[in-house]
Amino acid sequence: MKPLNEMTLCFESRSCNEGFARTAAAAFTAQLDPTVGELNEIRTVVSEAVTNCVVHAYRNTIGSIRLNIRIMPGNTVVIRVKDSGCGIEDVKKAMEPLFTTAPDEERAGLGFAVMQSFSDGVKVRSVVGKGTTVTITKKLSLRCSDV
């Protein structure tokens, strides 16, 4: 299916870019007239996915993060966060609530659980040593019928 609109951003895995990424995502999806709650959910899932790249994928190093957002027919947003970092050995385990490899930094291990509960679907593709792509699908309530 062809997207109705699309944007891609590339930025470095610096923690100060977490705010930039979620704000940009919210600004781009604002054209769908989301509710305050939906906009907050979009900000949150992007923040979680980008933080994973900063904290885990590029641990102790700086790499490139690609944020791609596609607006699909049916008021659906597809958010893709891609890194070329260390990859995840056991995706199933990484997605378990409360599982974290960084408890010292007070990471709660809730990143994927939050992404799942604030969206309509999360897909993770990861190759150790190559990187990870997280794809989040979110269907917005239809408030204006022309999209």
Binding site: C16, R22, S47, T51, V55, E106, A108, L110
Partner: protein, 120 residues
């Protein structure tokens, strides 16, 4: 009063001491980037004042991701070590959703929503 300014995100923590009650007013957006500074400031204040009750006031928080859960859980543990208690107060609705999802509700540290209070 503590002011920490980083980029466009302004964080502010200020303390009000009523007896041994310490209130931390958190401001701005809480994410992995800002949580570290908030954690350091909060812990420095806790160690200095050693309150029996710590209140974390979220009225000025406009955004929080799961980093905020780590921030709360960490302070909960710190207060337990001191034999003190933690209360999380003035929680905006959007942020309450995140807190309840994380299971923080079971610790009985969250102030109930105005909605819950009026239905009683």
């Amino acid at each position: 009063m503590y002011n920490i300014t980083e980029g466009v995100i302004i964080l502010e923590l200020k303390s009000v001491q009523k007896g041994s009650e310490l209130t931390l007013y958190l401001r701005g957006e809480i994410d992995h980037h800002s949580a570290r500074k908030m954690r350091e400031t909060a812990d420095a204040l806790i160690h200095q004042k050693k309150p029996s009750l710590l209140k974390m006031n979220f009225s000025g928080v406009s955004f929080m991701d799961s980093s905020g859960i780590g921030l709360i859980m960490g302070r909960y543990r710190t207060m337990l070590l001191y034999g003190g208690k933690l209360r999380v107060v003035s929680i905006p609705e959007q942020i309450r959703k995140m807190m309840e999802l994380s299971g923080l509700g079971t610790l009985n540290i969250l102030e109930r929503s105005r909605q819950d209070e009026t239905t009683e």
